[in-house]
Symmetry: C3
Subunit: 143 residues, 3 copies
């Protein structure tokens, strides 16, 4: 059994941003030479999400808008204080909570060397507290 791990670095550009990472995931699956198995994709952060939806700009805006409506900026969060460990004020409770609602990891089967996914399924890395340098991981398990 092979286990191939790639760490992918993204420089996000905006505070909230959905980035289509499907081509990267598919390319890593094909490059791995794994014919059957599973590909796992996960963010290494707690103020980002990783999800699957249709690859349309209007839906990207609706997903961001839905998270902002369900977890508004202006509520009395506890995580809004000076953090000694960070040397600065914590002001990103909404980013953490939006990520918790959306989730941060997905997987897809691999069959005959190709990722099995639906025709409209686009994998999005979701920046919720940008712009920042971010890392996500693609793991390909199989043979």
């Amino acid at each position: 059994m092979k286990s191939i791990l790639r760490r992918i670095i993204l420089l996000t550009q905006r505070e909230t941003e959905l980035i289509d990472i499907t081509p990267t995931v598919q390319a890593e699956v094909e490059r791995s030479g794994v014919r059957s198995g599973t590909v796992f994709v996960l963010s290494l952060h707690t103020t980002t999400g990783l999800t699957v939806n249709e690859g349309l700009p209007d839906l990207q805006q609706d997903i961001a808008g839905c998270l902002e409506r369900l977890v508004p900026e202006d509520r009395p969060y506890r995580h809004a204080r000076f953090l000694r460990s960070d040397g600065q004020m914590a002001i990103n409770a909404p980013s953490h909570l939006r990520g918790a609602l959306l989730g941060f990891q997905v997987f897809f089967p691999i069959e005959e060397g190709r990722m099995v996914s639906g025709a409209r399924q686009t994998i999005y890395f979701v920046e919720l507290d940008g712009p920042q340098e971010r890392t996500y991981v693609i793991q390909i398990l199989g043979e």
Copy 2:
């Protein structure tokens, strides 16, 4: 290591509908002959969900009702316009957003040829934009 993949087709009957797929998943695990490993279950669509909850009709209604309350029909979504690729108006932004909140994939370990899950854990395929023909995938990885 074996990787067994099944594509299961469902004809959903209603706009919103939770369908218990636990017996199908368990039967595929047993039929696979895999003694230890993992079973992955995922929807191939972006206006459906796939989740786990207790197998009670009243909870099915509460889950649907909760998603409809958190993502109401009558908001000014961006994904509400003529889609050239579909040849019709997009009117299902809420279906996409409800699926994003609920999630669309789950996994369970396999031990001694049986799926390891809690006594009350029922796997639901969740139609959010039906009725339609839908496909979900069961992958059994192990040996």
Copy 3:
């Protein structure tokens, strides 16, 4: 390929409670001897969650508070009736719905015998209907 399964029992102390289980998961990965593979962590209940966020007490409170705000106690849920199977009134619809929004399972890659996760990623078992005895499963798949 090895598949190592551990069932971990927790006695939760409060109605809602986030319990950091990261050290247990990491210790099981190291104890397994698996050098490369994947670790899966999942709750066996339908009124709990399992998620990842930063390991800060104020965020634990914000996550609990967010779920309580999005799924309030005092709505007319259907799952609020005498359950013959339980011999008592069902009064925990909000616990089921909060768990559905949060999710109940996560995974991480294993590389060179260690779990691959972000510096701020803390794995939380989330009690949503406590106090109770709860079981979650750690499965380590790899070699």
